[in-house]
Symmetry: C2
Subunit: 134 residues, 2 copies
């Protein structure tokens, strides 16, 4: 079931392009929101905070879908379906800083909250469609 | 259940921002892909072609979710959950040209296929979250 991204697709994930991530609500409908992302050795990592809709949904149903369009060329896109294989608080504070560096160019995530616990969500791609990457 | 977009959110839909639209697969998982969009008097319109994944999914389950980020400012975003209230071929060829004008600045949709039938999908927003639009 595992699928991998091409070199060009993984480049798009490592550039500061937003991903739009869908999770499943309790009633089976979907929810989509924009997230920062990192491609890590075959996995797609996002970073969220405990108590939000996404981790609640992922505790119930691990299936996700996501879509990325090159911020510099709308004809280049990657869409993925997959499953969450790990959710961990370990390293999640450092990871959100790393993403803030990537997307905002700052050393420390400016949206940090004293009461929120960050969590890294590791996604295994299962189906990958790439457009315009030839 | 119907919800409406604020004036500022509807502006974002009327500018050439991409929307990432989630539909539901037969197994209940989600699928997301980037689409052109228009805001029309309380409804969100997209344009697809019969036989593709999205209209097949929507024939089975009308529930959708979508996410839009301002192409000029990643802090401005709108996320929507809603349902498809109409799918029609009427006017769909003219509509894809209208969207090609909006997104590409051309009079005629360059991806037109002689064998594909275009369809307008009308979405009624039910929950709207706006970020950074104050």
């Amino acid at each position: 079931m595992a699928a991998s991204l091409s070199a060009k697709a993984s480049e798009l994930f490592n550039e500061p392009n937003l991903v739009h991530l869908a999770t499943l609500m309790a009633d089976g409908s979907s929810q989509v929101s924009p997230v920062w992302v990192e491609y890590d050795n075959g996995s797609i990592l996002i970073n969220t905070a405990l108590g939000r809709i996404k981790p609640k949904n992922l505790d119930r149903d691990k299936r996700v879908a996501l879509s990325l369009v090159d911020r510099n060329n709308a004809y280049r896109a990657v869409i993925v379906r997959g499953s969450v294989v790990e959710m961990t608080e370990t390293g999640a504070d450092a990871h959100i800083d790393k993403l803030a560096k990537k997307y905002l160019g700052v050393d420390s995530y400016p949206g940090r909250s004293a009461i929120e616990k960050r969590v890294i969500v590791r996604i295994q791609p299962e189906r990958v469609s790439e457009m315009g990457l030839d």
